[in-house]
Amino acid sequence: MSAKAAALAAAIAIASACGRGEPGATAKPAEAQRGGTLVVGAITDADAWNEYVSQQTAAVNLLRRMYLRLGQEQGDTKDHPPSFAPLLASAWSFSPDGLTLTFTLRDAVWSDGTPVRASDVVFTWKAQTSKEVAWPGGSSKERIKDVHAVDDKSVAFVFDRAYPEMLADAIEGGILPEHVFGKVPFSEWRAHDWSTAGVGSGPFLLSSWKPGEEIALVRNPRYFEKDRPYLDGIVIRVVPDLGNLETQLLSGNVDLIDGVPPADAKRLSATPGVTLLPYDNPMFDYVGWNAARPPLDDPEVRRALTLAIDRQAIVDDLLFGYGRVSAGPLLSSWWPADATLAPWPYDPKEAERILAAKGYGPGHPLAIEMMTNAGNRTREAVAVKIQEQLAKVGVAVTPRTVEMRALREASAAGKYDAYIGGWRFSGKLDLKGIFGSASRPPGGNNVVAYASHETDRLIDALGAASDWRTAKTAYAGIAHRLHDDQPYTFLYEAKRLVAVGPRAKGVVVDVPADPLARLESIWIAR
């Protein structure tokens, strides 16, 4: 099969997975009631009301409900790249050569009554790729050579070559109204107060913002789906103290909290009317071993350290079971993961044997300082747990807690032995940036200074894959290589928890990294 044919097959497979028609939101329950205000508790405030300027996940999750994407990602990422339900676009199709993706926009209007046009999509792409705007997600648009309006309601994305995530990359990012956002030059976007923009396409609009205290959203009367949203509005109460928020959930003042600590899960779920919804968080935590410092440059030593860490005990004791042991950087809920690759087992005897063969033992213990970021209580506890576990094989770990930016600076400068960190996915993981030998310090994110020609070759092969099945094979090769080399000890994939109070109904969390994806289907029982 040629590359073009493969791309076409992949595109058709993905497109057919969602098809054309109505949004993928949950079906309307018979008893759903209209009206009411949902009160959401949050520990952090929004920072900016423009997705391309905002730096906070929580703000972006709200902005996604105000400025719609062309399609809504579905939660079916386990067996293939995510499919998309129509959203601002009603349909899409690939050209015969598989390099042009054309979206047909639905007959939607902005909240001020102006029709949503293809020119808005073109304008948004210009913003996404503007160096002045400096959108951190801009890498999703790297392979898009051009975006142009075919007519008022059709817009074409032209790619430089076919690859598995073409649809996802084209859809990434909310479409902005050019007639509002275009009034501000890109060079001024990062110093502009967007809270007054006021015009959106989603089910909700920003009604008011009291920084540090409260965000109020109101139903968009011109939202294209006539029977949604059910709610009149949403109020996000910003209270940095999670204990206070949980008390408010129990007393009925707050209806929903995202990010409840696993330690509180049992207590909250024991309360009548409170429901806990765990969901996959696109993130893994790891111990990074500094390969620039012997003996951590030796893959066998790193493997021995992994064997000596009882990661299942960490998941059970510190995550209270809300997570799973990591086999590698490819999340188990993500289609590139190789289900046949099992995490290294907990085997302290084998670890001891390897370390003894390397000259380490009771008479010559291996001493490691292990850093982690202050304020992350789970990681602080993990560091202590690892200290206990490695002590059993004669490795002396000294945990050291430092402020996040100090940790980042120390790791980027290679001034550490080991550190506990985490990587968050944003659609896809930049394996080249994290494990490629060209990304070693200074400057790159491969701060563990891992270098393997074989891994580099496999990552390049992944970059050249034109369809997702080929990519999956390439991903598996990388995963096995990293499994053998253990540049990191891949610790765990922690689940995130949403707590829902008795008033809120219809809460469904089925899209990783987007707990509010079904916000328009939530209703209040009265």
Binding site: A134, M404, R405, A410
Partner: protein, 322 residues
């Protein structure tokens, strides 16, 4: 005039020191933006350029000072608004909370001290002493959480967070004012009650000292009652140090209380300054320091003027003060 020059020099020194310290701390706002996403060096460089962080520190500091002289305190990266807007949003809730807390501190502290002294070494004196010491010893965050648990959850008398009710924008002004007071009551009580205990001991010591003075003994010889001795004579003598204390409390009044603001979700200056330091939001850090420094100067001036009003003997000294 000399005070104004001294104040300006003090502000310049404090601001410069703050800027140097913030610059010397590791990390940059790009780290905040990256979070735990692997950002490429190119994107980091673009972000630095977009916020002007690629310019030398001295140039950025000079630009901020020039802007501040024109009333432009810069742009808050972490809050997506001009710093003046951020400050003006945080100041009123802080003034309300701190003003109320100070009223509780002064009122309750004074009352406790007077009761202490009117019946010294009695049951009340001992009980109040133990109670006051206990309150002063309890960590504020714990007191705040217990207050929420008791008075917002078990017996829901007060709101557990925020400075206003949901949907209060459309309410009449008087109702909104009452709503704000209702929301401020619990956090202000937590702040004020703990401070009142310490203040009461301070005033009590002053009162006991004044009661031993000759003019009080003379009043007693003239037949003044115990209550009159305390309230009319001794209390007046303790007024000057109390005025000084209130004056120097002014900066703390506006800088807010981080712990109470965090626990109660109160949108004040303490949280603003703390968040800005964490986010390396230099313009906000500098602006909060500028406000704090200005208030130290104004507060000490107010204390001197208040002292001159309360104690005629101090008038000459104040006039001669630099």
């Amino acid at each position: 005039m000399r005070r104004a020059v001294a104040g300006a020099l003090l502000a310049a020194a404090v601001l410069t020191l703050t800027f140097v310290l913030v610059e010397a701390a590791p990390g940059s706002p790009a780290d905040l933006i990256a979070g735990e996403r692997p950002l490429s060096p190119e994107v980091r460089a673009r972000l630095d350029a977009a916020y002007g962080l690629d310019r030398p520190p001295l140039s950025r500091y000079a630009a901020w000072l020039l802007g501040a002289a024109r009333g432009d305190l810069g742009w808050s990266i972490s809050r997506g608004r001009p710093v003046t807007a951020v400050l003006s949003a945080a100041l009123p809730p802080t003034l309300l909370l701190s003003g109320l807390a100070l009223s509780i501190q002064l009122g309750l502290g004074l009352a406790l001290a007077v009761l202490h002294v009117v019946r010294p070494r009695g049951a009340f004196d001992h009980a109040a002493g133990v109670f006051g010491l206990s309150l002063a010893s309890i960590p504020t965050f714990w007191l705040a959480l217990m207050a929420i648990l008791a008075l917002s959850y078990r017996v829901p008398l007060f709101p557990p967070s925020s400075s206003r009710s949901i949907g209060s924008e459309g309410w009449p002004l008087a109702v909104r004012a009452l709503d704000a007071l209702w929301h401020a009551a619990l956090p202000a009580a937590v702040l004020g009650v703990g401070a009142a205990a310490a203040f009461a001991r301070y005033v009590r010591a002053g009162l006991l000292r004044a009661l031993g003075e000759g003019f009080v003994r003379a009043a007693r010889a003239r037949g003044a009652s115990s209550r009159a001795l305390v309230t009319r004579h001794a209390l007046r003598a303790t007024l000057p140090p109390m005025v000084t204390l209130a004056g120097v409390s002014l900066p703390a009044l506006v800088s807010g209380s981080l712990v109470v603001e965090v626990v109660f979700g109160w949108p004040g200056m303490g949280r603003l300054a703390y968040d800005a330091v964490i986010a390396r939001d230099v313009p906000v850090v500098l602006a909060t320091v500028l406000v704090g420094t200005a208030l130290v100067v104004v507060g000490s001036l107010a204390a001197d003027l208040g002292l001159a009003w309360a104690d005629p003997r101090a008038r000459g000294a104040v006039a001669e003060a630099p």
